[in-house]
Amino acid sequence: MRKLFPPDLLARDGRFVRLTNEERFNDPRGPRGLAGGRPGSKKNNRLTPDLPEAPDAARALMHGIFVGEIQALEGAGRTCWDFETGKGREEAPFELKLDMARQCWDEARHCEISVKLSDWMGTELGEYSESAFLYEAACNPDPVLRLTGVNRALEGLAIDVFTTMKDFGDIAGDPVLEFCEDWMLADEVTHVKMGSDWLRRLTADDPERRANALEFQRVVDKLFSFGGLRGETDENPIKLARRFRELAGFTDGEIDEIGNVSEEATREAAAMGAPA
């Protein structure tokens, strides 16, 4: 089996349909708002149960989480395989691989949880299209950049998403949703902390590599703030979860930075909001 497995070859059964990034981002109708509002519009877009479209929006988001969990599982698995074990720049330390194997188990359980939640919410597996750009971040050939992109940017987003969904379940009185999101949130905090710890350990004597990794994280954070998806205002469907991010090893400055990236993405979405 080859090293570095390309995103377009990710194996799926016939229920799943993959979108290219071009299809995803080049819709002439403009970006799609998660909670029914046009992205970037100056209104309350936060995904809360009181919105008329909320249950369907929650279902769609849950499906997105499900395919995201599959890709996170695949990405963590590939980190076990793609790198030789060692302390060299292009290698992955044994302990890092152990962490990634643990993450495989966690992500596999998240997939299982998501499948059960899909049944609960009335969503069919593969009901919505899938794009592979989460996994794409897990293809970086530098293990430090990969860990930073996946465990700090993407798993960090997962903290924000799970917090939003947990709150949604709490307000809607949905005991199953709240229970599941709370458990997954606990794992995500662990994964982000893993990413933060490994970033610091592996770049302790290499400030340039650390800077590159943080820049890569910024790029991924920006991508995943597309359409003003995540941020700190009510315009953003997903709320930046400051407290859980602190638990996961983010400094206040780093959280502010993500907030800024998200604001930038929200402004860009507002500019794109009108159809072409």
Partner: protein
């Protein structure tokens, strides 16, 4: 309760553990190093295969099993310094080149249509050989001096048996035609021959030598 001052033996009547074992400290360390190496190779390839397997249930089981074997590698890794090997990497080795050839062949399948081959390599060849070698070790090492290895082997074996059953059930559920039976059997035979050359996951003597007595008296 009896008089607390009354002496009792260190070994209760039901405790029949004995001192002599089949392995020296060095031999044990070498075997444990081989175990760690094969567990690493296994968890790495299970992780790598997740992205290549389209069957959703198999994909998720591989993720779970990947961690089991990583944990085994960690347990063996931690045992090595206790066996006087302060640099565990030094003993993290394949038993021989033939075992490397086996692992290369086992990890070769990649295509989405090769799930049967992937699973057969792991669950019909490698894991049964691991269970055999670990069981031999468990039954032959000193139950007193090597108790920590025994405890590790018991924990590991519990996973191995469960994963073996999981894997076998996945294989049985994937095989639907006589041709697929042949595919599975052919791949198993190919890998078994390589494992035969290797002599098992710890090399020749992985499960002892049943003809040792005859050979000694001949």
């Amino acid at each position: 309760m009896a008089d607390p001052k009354k002496p009792r033996p260190a070994f209760a009547p039901w405790d029949t553990r004995e001192l002599p074992g089949s392995f020296t400290v060095e031999e044990t360390a070498a075997r444990v190093g081989n175990y760690k190496w094969i567990e690493m190779k296994l968890f790495e390839v299970l992780g790598g295969w997740i992205a290549t397997v389209p069957e959703l249930d198999v994909k998720l089981r591989l993720g779970t099993h990947c961690y089991h074997h990583a944990w085994h590698a960690e347990l063996f890794h931690k045992r090595l310094p206790e066996l006087r090997e302060m640099n565990p990497e030094r003993l993290t080795l394949p038993a021989n080149d033939e075992l490397v050839a086996f692992v290369d062949a086992m990890t070769e399948p990649e295509g989405p249509g090769e799930t049967i081959e992937k699973l057969v390599g792991v669950y019909r060849v490698l894991i049964p050989h691991k269970i055999a070698a670990y069981t031999f070790h468990l039954n032959n090492t000193s139950t007193i001096t090597d108790a920590p290895t025994i405890r590790t082997l018991k924990l590991v074996l519990q996973d191995e048996f469960e994963d073996w059953r999981d894997g076998e059930m996945m294989i049985q559920s994937l095989i639907e035609t006589p041709d697929e039976v042949d595919r599975a059997a052919a791949h198993q035979a190919k890998l078994e021959k390589l494992m035969l050359s290797a002599g098992g996951i710890a090399g020749p003597g992985s499960i002892g030598n049943p003809y040792a007595l005859q050979e000694a008296t001949a």
